[in-house]
């Protein structure tokens, strides 16, 4: 066994292509994708037109409030420039006909008048070219500026009215008399912090990341077994005093080691990506990375790969070519990927018992549950799910290698 494993690992070590695709790719792919996306987003040119049809300053002497459309215009152009958008100040709304203009902000006539009145509402008009993703970001920016002004004006109006009425009032009590609060708590009711929430988000992606590790490991086993037959090394190998099951097991272990390396690379890729995006967007970086979660992820990945290989092994050892074996494999891995994807938005432990009981047959559900239960604070349940994976794969592997003989390995249909 040790000798066979040595051969497999030496072979793997020198197989630069496989190593590259299974370590560097997952490690670099996510951060690279994030980086490229970010860089490209920076490079986008968005042209905004701002039209002030009002161009007036109005003073409401009753409330003693002044508002000028130019203040709004000034703020909008200031922030557009700050966030790197191109803008043009125009005097006519027909500028929207220009195909180069992506978004137009119109301050209509009578805006300042309405804004300072006690009975009317002032309105900003935004014209956005459909089908452009980025214009919604500009819209968001305009929206927050407008909101801020609206807020200020309403505050001033409320205070002015209170002054006129001679009563004591606060802005909040008048404008927003009912509010609500939410406190995030753990499964046992204690409040949790943001780090905990981030952990849960990461765990969802970790489950998804599992789908990237099953495929390389599985194709490695296919290549190891059928490739050995096709490259004509199998017969000589089998003529040595080793059990065929030992040969298969060595290959399975080598594949699982490869898969494990992939899983770790994958997790790190995810972390790099999250850290990078946290840094670039300036939100709470750097935060704590939970090594235990990574450990649980790695163990789960190990057994997920093992169970995938175990399921496909009976087919692999009984098919002739690499292609037909790969087809069977991709059915199995597709199933895995579908389930891992659903874990992004399904909380598996909240499914009704009868559905869950059915799903328990599928090993990948246990992979999902192992991570999901661990992250919300049920380490023992996570352990049970991993145990299930371990037992299932061992039993299948045992049965497969038990029914295996050299003749089948040597020549299959």
């Amino acid at each position: 066994m040790k000798v066979l494993l040595w051969k497999e690992l030496t072979d793997l070590k020198r197989d630069k292509k496989t190593l590259f695709t299974s370590i560097l790719l997952p490690l670099l792919m996510l951060p690279l994708m994030g980086f490229i996306g970010f860089a490209l987003a920076q490079e986008q040119v968005i042209n905004v037109a701002v039209v002030d049809l009002d161009n007036a300053t109005v003073h409401n002497s009753l409330l003693n409030i002044t508002f000028s459309s130019r203040w709004l215009l000034g703020n909008i152009t200031y922030y557009l420039a700050k966030y790197g958008y191109n803008y043009t100040v125009s005097h006519t709304t027909s500028i929207i006909k220009n195909p180069k203009i992506d978004l137009m902000v119109v301050i209509p006539k009578g805006f300042a008048e309405n804004a300072t009145s006690l009975t009317r509402v002032a309105k900003i008009e935004i014209y956005r070219k459909a089908g452009l993703q980025t214009t919604s970001r500009v819209e968001g920016l305009i929206f927050s500026i407008v909101n801020w002004f609206s807020d200020q004006l309403s505050k001033e109006k409320i205070m002015a009215l209170a002054r006129l009425a001679g009563v004591n009032a606060t802005v909040e009590a008048l404008r927003n008399p009912i509010i609500y609060t939410t406190t995030l708590v753990s499964i046992s009711g204690t409040p949790v912090n943001t780090a905990f929430q981030i952990r849960i988000t990461i765990s969802r992606f970790l489950v998804l990341a599992l789908s990237f590790v099953v495929t390389p490991a599985a194709s490695y086993v296919i290549d190891g077994i059928i490739g050995e037959r096709e490259r004509k090394t199998m017969e000589l190998l089998l003529s040595h005093p080793v059990k065929p099951s030992t040969i298969i097991n060595a290959k399975v272990i080598a594949a699982t080691i490869l898969g494990l390396i992939t899983a770790v690379a994958d997790a790190f890729g995810l972390l790099i990506y999250i850290s990078l995006s946290a840094l670039t967007y300036g939100s709470q970086a750097p935060f704590l990375i939970d090594p235990w979660l990574l450990l649980v992820h790695s163990i789960t990945a190990f057994f997920t790969i093992l169970v995938t290989v175990a399921i496909s092994l009976p087919f692999i050892t009984r098919t002739k070519g690499i292609r037909s074996a790969s087809n069977i494999m991709s059915i199995v891995t597709m199933m895995a990927v579908v389930f891992f994807f659903t874990a992004l938005f399904v909380d598996y432990m909240r499914l009704p018992t009868y559905i869950l009981a059915l799903l328990y047959i599928i090993p990948y559900v246990h992979s999902i549950l192992a991570i999901q239960t661990y992250v919300i604070g049920y380490p023992f349940q996570a352990f049970l799910h991993i145990l299930f994976l371990a037992i299932t794969s061992t039993v299948i592997l045992y049965l497969t290698t038990k029914t295996l003989n050299t003749e089948k390995l040597l020549m299959s249909k």
Partner: protein, 249 residues
Amino acid sequence: MEGSAVVVEKLHKIYDNKVHAVRGISFRVDKGEIFGLIGPNGAGKSTTLRMIVGLIKPTKGRIRVMGIDVVKNPVEVKKYIGYLPEEADVYERLTGLEHLRFYAMLRGLQGYELDRAVEYGVKLSGLEMQSLERRASEYSKGMKRRLLLASVLMTRPKLAILDEPTSGLDVYASVNVRRMIKEYVRETGASIILSSHNMLEVEYLCNRVAFIARGRIIVEAEPKRIKEMYGAENLEDAFVKAVKEAEER
């Protein structure tokens, strides 16, 4: 019998309930003997050899190697057998030397014994150290064949089964391999079963040969005796006559 290295009795192999590849073959090979199997393509030579090695199961019949039942103890019996398949290739990413070490270790050798076997393998292969330290994917066909043959013989198995050991080799390489085989038997007193299409080779190497056609042995004797039996100049003529006779029957 006590002195027999291999005893094959009424061996049959039917592939997939269809192809009756071997139809009742019996022979025995003594210790220190080189036994040759000759036959047209598809005669059942490789099938017979694979059954002796225990790689495929006979449909019927019995095989004993060194007194051990091959079907019942497939792993045990492999300890005594070195087998060179008809089509065998190298691991692309291992060096020649690593091949020798790997196959020696697969036979459970360690430490001094391992070093000695590898050393012997290096000598048998006739390859330069420089080549042996290169990856085997860079070898020529002949170098690969010599490397693999050396790996089969280096652990001095009591029975070597060689399926067309010189196929694909040039004249010089073939001569070398033949010399290697003969020397090996003289040094170790081991038995060899080989299959071949080269009559010269068989005549030079084998104490006894069996002609196989369509899964049956049609003649079995010393090369000299066979030539006499068919009144032929050489083994090739005898072979052609024997096969023709068998077809007519």
